[in-house]
């Protein structure tokens, strides 16, 4: 455990001195938390917050059950914001992992690290945790701020209760961390093949495609976010995580790093 902690400390010391990573880790959560609040506040001020039921897919309206139509519209809007919020556990680990691994490749600092008694599992776990922990922390803190401040910008109590529904608690509490693990392992695999952190980050951003599928699926009325869907997504990502961790661990063997990472 000491070795993992040392690696996490090292990663944070080094990666957070990079302004671009710091920008991603600090600014994105602030942006994704404040922007919906500002928009909700602006809409309330202009009287648009209730909106029109024609803007909401019929399948979503049907899924609203006992909610009043205007509440259902708000839930639909907030769902879009929260789905955008789910970008955080994907974007933050990708930025950290890309700069951490590619940085070590280009400065050739991995070999001395591999020459220490650290095991490859400890090294991989340390690097992954260093990328995943800030992402989860940023997501959870941002969500908490949103939950606490959204009533102040005119969200109805019934809508606020929907934000704290099992669907979103599963999304933020379980799917978010699973997404972060997926993103970091994917970034690790990509980073082993490229020598530019920006290229690694851009290629790794492919991991957001499934999330965009969810966002557009909901807008088009093809998908309705509910507990069943979230549980299915969580199981799907967990399976992908296992596969990516296996692949990542194979790529992170000492011999592979020293002889094949170019």
């Amino acid at each position: 455990m000491n070795n993992i902690k040392t690696i996490i400390d090292k990663e944070w010391l080094e990666v957070f001195k990079n302004r671009f990573v710091l920008f991603t880790v600090m600014l994105l959560p602030v942006l994704f938390t404040i922007l919906p609040l500002v928009m909700l506040f602006a809409m309330r001020s202009s009287g648009e917050l209730t909106g029109s039921t024609t803007d909401v897919p019929p399948s979503f309206m049907a899924a609203c059950g006992n909610l009043a139509p205007e509440d259902c519209i708000q839930v639909f809007m907030i769902n879009q914001f929260l789905l955008m919020f789910m970008l955080l556990p994907l974007a933050i680990p990708v930025a950290i992992a890309a700069y951490s691994v590619v940085g070590e490749k280009t400065t050739r600092s991995l070999e001395p690290l591999l020459a220490t008694p650290i095991t490859t599992v400890e090294l991989l776990a340390g690097k992954s945790a260093a990328a995943v922990i800030p992402a989860i922390a940023a997501t959870w803190v941002g969500f908490l701020v949103f939950v606490l401040t959204s009533p102040l910008v005119g969200i109805r109590p019934a809508v606020h209760a929907e934000i704290l529904s099992p669907t979103w608690l599963i999304a933020i509490g379980i799917v978010g961390p699973l997404m972060a693990v997926m993103a970091v392992n994917f970034a690790l695999i990509v980073s082993s093949r490229v020598n530019d952190p920006r290229a690694a980050e851009q290629i790794s951003m492919v991991v957001i495609v499934p999330l965009l599928g969810l966002i557009f699926g909901q807008i088009a009325g093809v998908l309705v976010l509910n507990v069943q869907l979230m549980v299915s997504v969580a199981i799907g990502i967990a399976v992908v995580d296992v596969a990516l961790i296996y692949l990542g661990a194979r790529l992170f063997q000492r011999e592979v790093i020293l002889t094949r990472w170019k």
Binding site: L13, S109, E111, P112, L113, A115, P117
Partner: protein
């Protein structure tokens, strides 16, 4: 201390391609407290050998024991008991020198990390710059920091891959002096270098290696095996008649005349020089200086590498 037995490493670049042999059938022993030079041209397999011996990569065949620990079985323990200075010693450029060393002190499980870091930063003249980012360091300072990093955990065996490569003469001297200090402390040092003068000065024995081991011996013995021992006699004036006269002496192997000098090959100059000098003086020679002709290690190295190339070419044809 290091026992290597038929160590072989092959790499498979791609499927359906023949494997590339980087190290073939390497067997040798390195004694405790010895500075052992490992010399060879670029691409000879020196770094691959060091990586195998430090448990960074696994051999394809053969085995080795490092301080009694077996490769492939005690890899973590081997990495704990050896120090390695890699050919390109990467650092965390955004971190201070002190932070860089603290990370490694913690990973090696050093009991008093701060104390050890301070000890080696002071010893290598980096204490005043300990809080500066390593990115601002010169190449010499980085190399000194890398040496401090590989010795923080007080390993008894050190693998140094090109420790003075690219350093200015002053920094190279400091590194060499430090290696001498480590040697005086009784540590075993496996030194890969292209700097033959450095190997000559520091190493008790050297191995000349190019995928396969060509030879192992002390620099002095290698010179003697290849060139014998030669004495140069500087004369005020050379009489050509002295050449056959000296050749007639039973202990003289060969005599060459060059300008006003005679180069005489002898087996035991310490015993045979007085007779040689007496003979020349009796013939009326005015002797100005007498000295031993030393072939450089570079001559030995190039001769052995060339003969190895010739052997390889013959083998191929």
């Amino acid at each position: 201390m290091i026992h290597i037995e038929a160590l072989t490493k092959q790499f498979n670049p791609r499927k359906n391609q023949a494997p590339i042999t980087a190290v073939e059938d390497l067997s040798l022993d390195v004694r405790q407290g010895e500075v052992f030079g490992f010399l060879g041209p670029n691409g000879a397999g020196k770094t691959t050998t060091v990586r195998m011996l430090t448990s960074l990569i696994a051999p394809t065949r053969g085995t080795a024991t490092i301080n009694g620990l077996r490769l492939g079985q005690d890899d973590t323990a081997i990495r704990r008991c050896v120090g390695i200075l890699t050919e390109t010693p990467g650092m965390y450029d955004r971190l201070s020198a002190e932070k860089n060393l603290m990370i490694f002190a913690n990973l090696y499980g050093v009991k008093d990390p701060a104390g050890q870091v301070q000890k080696y930063l002071r010893m290598l003249g980096l204490w005043e710059r300990r809080l500066d980012e390593v990115g601002s360091f010169s190449k010499g300072m980085r190399q000194k920091l890398a040496i401090a990093r590989c010795i923080l955990h007080e390993p008894q065996i050190l693998f140094l891959d090109e420790p003075t490569s690219g350093l200015d003469p002053e920094a190279a001297r400091l590194v060499r002096d430090f290696i001498e200090e480590l040697k005086a402390e009784g540590r075993t040092i496996f030194l890969c270098t292209h700097n033959l003068d450095e190997a000559d000065r520091l190493c008790e024995r050297i191995a000349i290696f190019k995928t396969r081991l060509i030879t192992v011996d002390s620099p002095r013995n290698l010179r003697e095996q290849l060139y014998g021992r030669k004495v140069v006699v500087h004369l005020r004036m050379l009489d050509p008649a002295w050449v056959p006269l000296l050749n007639d002496l039973s202990f003289v192997r060969q005599v060459q005349a060059m300008d006003n000098k005679l180069v005489v090959s002898l087996e035991h100059p310490e015993e045979q020089n007085p007779v040689l000098i007496r003979t020349l003086v009796q013939q009326g020679a005015d002797i100005q200086f007498v000295g031993e002709l030393r072939h450089s290690l570079e001559d030995v190295y190039l001769s052995l590498i060339r003969s190895s190339n010739g052997g390889a070419e013959e083998k191929q044809s």
